[in-house]
Amino acid sequence: MAFCSMLSKEADKFLVIGIGNPLRADDGVGPYIANAIKNKQIPGVNVVLSHQLDIELLEEAGKYAKILLIDASFLGEGLVFRKVQAASTEQGSSSHHLTPEFFWTLAQKLYHKELSLYVCAVRGRNFEMGEKLSPEVKLLVPKALDEICAFLREK
């Protein structure tokens, strides 16, 4: 990964959070990709794996200059990167997980941090029980790693 080699010199305090359940097939693509990034041991980049984006990650996230969430998506095609904006207080969320927007807003309210927060959504195809990624999503993984490393480098 050429991009990631370059990244190791440039990145500073980037947090990658892989979200999903590895027992629900493509839902586990976030942790799968995040784990691949973790194995690269890139200086300045820390990786957290989590079933869901939960409130306890807020304090940790506030310590980083930039945060990237990698999560499976029901919608879209391939990979979609987006920057997270604030949520309205009416936007619901459950105690098990927060939406990225809710996460951003809580960080601002609680820690006075305007997070530089991004989401990489990977279109999943199969969310049934199983530890294997679907063939379509598995094909996306090398591309996802390349694009995420490029994304990290650009940011």
Binding site: L23, S50, H51, I55, E56, L58, E59, T89, E90, G92, S93, S94, S95, H96, F102, T105, L106, K109, L110, Y111
Partner: protein, 478 residues
């Protein structure tokens, strides 16, 4: 319930995870006559576990719930140990007990600080747009941060022993498959003072609320019931391992030091036609006479004392609410939950100070020598039973899981009825009344695949019907 009602209420379309549904039945004068709290979810764990090897159950059953996976794993491992005729090592029990404490703290902190505190801080009738965790974060950021860290402390106990915050692995028949490192023990000990301080802040907050809203607290779904909880040999509060105690509504002990393996001699279940959640009842008295409650309020009502000094001090204040008798007010679940949390943190410190907690002797081994096993523990929401029967090869032929929320089902229905009678008048229902109905359920912190764990807005559907079943009004949220 007529046939038409049943068709409306138990439609497959409504079998979606996490929605509570309530029917309020009004008399001709528009007064609430009856209430039904519906659970339309069906999980099927008991059925699809049949055919699995019993030793897989401590790994499968934590997946039932993301909030109380440890209680499921512990109860499951105990049932397996009964079948194998083994007991965990001293260190195995210490580590299990510690993880169980972590789960309880995490769950109770979530219930109180994240979900319930907006009501106490902003008031029942305040604007629902700010009566949520965002509102707390804006107005009371220090309290919100403390609540988050307390929950994190609970989860970190699991993570530092098993590597996972939720759906933990490592609780196995015979003990634990992971030891604890000296470094992790030290790190967890460092959390204790902050965890105790935060718990005490929560206790102060609820006591202040009690003082300022005395009438509401005392009348909020206040009704008599029996109580069930686990106690130690001296009647002390016990969450991880002990014997069962039932008390009557007047506080008298009706059964004590019952081995959990005999639970079916005392508890039976019946089905009702408006919910998939059964109605358990105390067998000796029958379902028509009285029902029992489980969970923090029940545990403190049945307990004679606490195991740790600071919790004991607060326990005496709790007992003083209703000297010599159980505290029946449903609102006091919150207070009981906080006292339990204080007890848990204190006990965690005692365990972590035990040198043997880092021993590598974490597990004993054995083979199956009987085909039936029962295990129990006190989940955050109440007493939990796992009951397995296998064939000679160890494959499960029958599984019975008696879950705390199920045991509180009759009481939740009664609580909804009491609160609705108090705050609902006629077919129109105001937001404040809706919130109180929701809060009555939330006192029990039930786990309907976490339907009541939505932040500030439990998905809720209330139908108002007259005595003939005619739909008068529908209020939906979420």
């Amino acid at each position: 319930m007529d046939k038409q009602d049943k068709t409306i209420l138990i439609s497959p379309v409504t079998r979606i995870e996490g929605h509570a549904k309530i029917t309020l039945i009004l008399d001709d004068a528009g007064k609430v006559k009856d209430a039904q709290f519906h659970v339309n979810e069906f999980r099927g764990f008991e059925k699809f576990c049949e055919g699995r090897l019993f030793t897989e159950m401590p790994t499968i059953t934590p997946r039932i719930c993301g909030i109380c996976p440890v209680s499921h794993s512990v109860s499951s491992a105990k049932a397996c140990e009964m079948m194998m005729g083994i007991t965990p090592t001293y260190t195995g029990n210490l580590l299990r007990r510690l993880i169980h404490i972590g789960q309880t703290v995490s769950s109770h902190a979530l219930s109180f600080f994240h979900l319930s505190s907006p009501d106490f801080l902003f008031g029942w009738d305040s604007d629902p747009k700010s009566r949520n965790i965002i509102g707390v974060a804006e107005k009371f950021p220090d309290l919100a941060k403390r609540g988050i860290r307390l929950r994190k402390f609970g989860q970190e106990i699991s993570e530092r022993i098993t590597g996972k915050k939720i759906h933990i692995m490592g609780i196995v028949p015979g003990g634990m498959s992971y030891p604890m490192t000296v470094e992790n023990r030290k790190a967890l000990l460092a959390w204790i003072p902050e965890a105790i301080e935060t718990t005490k802040i929560g206790i102060d907050l609820i006591k202040k609320y009690h003082d300022e809203h005395k009438h509401e607290v005392e009348t909020f779904a206040n009704f008599e019931s029996m109580y069930l909880g686990t106690v130690g040999p001296g009647g002390e509060l016990e969450l991880y391992d002990g014997k069962l105690r039932f008390i009557n509504s007047d506080g008298s002990i009706v059964d004590d030091q019952i081995d959990p393996k005999n639970y079916l001699d005392y508890i039976a279940e019946r089905s009702i036609n408006w919910s998939y959640l059964k109605y358990p009842y105390y067998k000796k008295f029958g379902y028509e006479k009285v029902f029992y409650r489980v969970g923090p309020l029940a545990r403190l009502n049945v307990a004679t004392k606490m195991k740790t000094p600071q919790a004991q001090k607060e326990f005496l204040n709790f007992k003083a609410i209703s000297p010599g008798k159980p505290v029946h007010g449903t609102f006091y679940y919150h207070y009981a939950r906080l006292i339990e949390m204080l007890s848990c943190v204190e006990e965690a410190e005692v365990i972590l100070q035990d040198e043997k907690v880092t021993s590598l002797n974490t597990q004993t081994f054995g083979n199956q020598n009987q085909t039936e096993g029962v295990g129990s523990s006190e989940a955050p929401r109440g007493t939990l039973f796992h009951h397995y029967i296998t064939d000679e090869g160890g494959k499960l032929t029958k599984v019975n899981l008696l879950i705390a929320t199920g045991q509180n089902n009759p009481a939740m229905n009664r609580s909804v009825l009491e609160v609705a009678k108090q705050y609902v008048n006629g077919k129109d229902i105001k937001e404040g009344a809706l919130n109180r109905v929701e809060a009555a359920i939330r006192c029990y912190d039930p786990c309907l695949s976490c339907s009541t764990h939505a932040i500030g807005a439990m998905p809720l559907l209330i139908e108002m019907r007259n005595m003939n079943g005619v739909l008068l009004n529908v209020i939906q949220r979420g």
